[in-house]
Amino acid sequence: MARSVTTQRKAINTFFAWSIGLLIFFPILWTVLTSFKTEATAIADPPVFLFFDWTLENYAVVQERSNYARFLWNSIIIAGGSTILGIIIAVPAAWSMAFVPSRRTKDILLWMLSTKMLPAVGVLYPIYLIFIKMGLLDTRLGLTIVIMLINLPIIVWMLYTYFREIPGEILEAARMDGATLKSEILYVLTPMALPGIASTLLLNVILAWNEAFWTLNLTAAKAAPLTAFIASYSSPEGLFYAKLSAASTMAIAPILIMGWFSQKQLVRGLTFGAVK
């Protein structure tokens, strides 16, 4: 039952909520605006908000000067690759835990989550050493594997919660009709689980794209994704607001859009089902 609300109350709520929302969003808005300014306008005193000559030159310069596309490509390969790899490994595991649960299923799930809690810095040197020994330092392959592993628990966990919502009777009916394990997974489960797999995919691309410990510590020039590229702007010679903004805007735009589509999954994925 909805409570009746006066228009006045609603207007007050709207005013406050929008003010706070815009305040929180402002740094992003400011970055996007600045990316269309010239460097001179970007540091103008007093600052200029909307009325300036909009220009696209920063985007061109960022690409030209630092070969932005290469970092973007590294980000796409690493985030996409680690997610796909993770899904391939996690689907069978989550399937078996959801449909053939045993006494140990819960313990295994919790143990998997606990690996996610290991502080990265505690194992930094061993991983660094292993990477050097195996020639994986500053390679996309190495980073893809590491990021897949740090997100694997979340992937398994999310898929498990989605799979558990699929009624078991459907599987039994399929089995009665003589479906083999393979066809059961391919033709019965996969279509039903597809929305869940899709949102798991989305959330993990976001997490992998923004990962900023291993990407900063295990790459140099060749395999560096956008996180590392942006960090290189912290050196004094990179102090160009408009260009920094253009690079930042390009780095966050795709993920912002994906993120807005995955709000609901975010809660499920990041609280491990503890908040519904």
Binding site: I28, P92, P119, G259, W260
Partner: protein, 288 residues
């Protein structure tokens, strides 16, 4: 019904994930523990043999240790306080009827999707820069004395940046929890004439208690190992060297692996203490 055959198939299907995670956890962990008992300086002689608990003692007695503990507690505590208090208030506000609720929600959540290096750099340069930053303009406009944010108020600045990143997370989860509150309870309370503040204190807050605990624990785990924000803004100077940043410096910058590994073991133990509480809540939820 699980047959013997489907059971062994299930085990087989679980194997890749379990084996990979087991290796990912155990191999580096064992190496870290082994290194922590050694004098190990890759740039100055390499593996110089076993030293017992020397590194553990030296790590906690070094002059950088206590400041790093204080820095860690300040950041984690400060960010938790800000994100949870404002998260609860914001969640309640967003739950009210209004126009354009969906859009406001999107605006509020957005910072969570900004990669840490971007948000740190944008705040550092475009807001906190002592000459050209927006704060500098704002301060000048009001005639206040300029602040060198990242050196004079380094901790405040860092807490601000990190809170901006995590407030959306807290808000989103608390909002989800508020929306599951049975509105009839509030209506009944209202009929009985309970004032808004009492409704909040006796109905809303208890309902949120579990969500708040979950936010607290998850954020603590992530905040304990916060890295990129410090790396990009202060590089660990001006009192912002947290425990995990100190370990990072010991390992990669001064290449003292034994000492860094001992610190790593401390960090792992600390994170596990927090994780145990989180696991309990998550585990309880699995049974229902």
């Amino acid at each position: 019904m699980a047959t013997q055959q489907s059971r062994s198939a299930a085990r087989l299907m679980m194997a890749p994930a379990v084996i990979l995670l087991l290796a990912w956890m155990l191999v580096p962990l064992i190496m870290t523990v082994l290194f922590s008992f050694k004098k190990y300086l890759p740039m100055r002689g390499g593996d110089l043999g076993w030293v017992g608990f020397d590194n553990y003692v030296r790590f906690v007695t070094s002059s950088a240790f206590w400041p790093s503990v204080i820095a860690t507690l300040t950041i984690v505590g400060g960010v938790l306080l800000i994100t949870i208090v404002f998260g609860v208030l914001l969640a309640i506000l967003l739950d009210q009827p209004m126009w354009g609720q969906g859009i406001v929600r999107i605006l509020v959540i957005a910072p969570f999707f900004v990669m840490p290096t971007v948000s740190a750099l944008v705040w550092k340069n475009m807001f906190m820069d002592p000459v050209n930053g927006l704060f500098a303009h704002l301060w000048k406009f009001f005639g206040a004395a300029l602040i060198e944010w990242l050196s004079q108020a380094s901790m405040t600045s860092l807490i601000m940046i990190v809170s901006w990143q995590w407030l959306p997370f807290a808000t989103l989860i608390l909002l989800t929890a508020i929306q599951s509150l049975d509105s009839e309870q509030l209506e009944a309370a209202e009929m009985d004439g309970a004032p808004k503040l009492k409704q909040f204190w006796y109905i809303v807050l208890p309902h949120l208690s579990r969500a708040i605990t979950v936010v607290l624990l998850i954020q603590t785990i992530f905040l304990l190992s916060i890295f990129a924000e410090i790396f990009v803004t202060t590089g660990g100077s001006f009192g912002t060297k947290t425990l995990s940043y100190l370990i990072f410096q010991r390992v990669l910058e001064s290449q003292n692996i034994g000492l860094g590994s001992a610190g790593g073991v401390y960090a792992i133990i600390l994170a596990n203490i927090v994780a145990i509480f989180l696991m309990r809540i998550v585990g309880k939820n699995l049974d229902t």
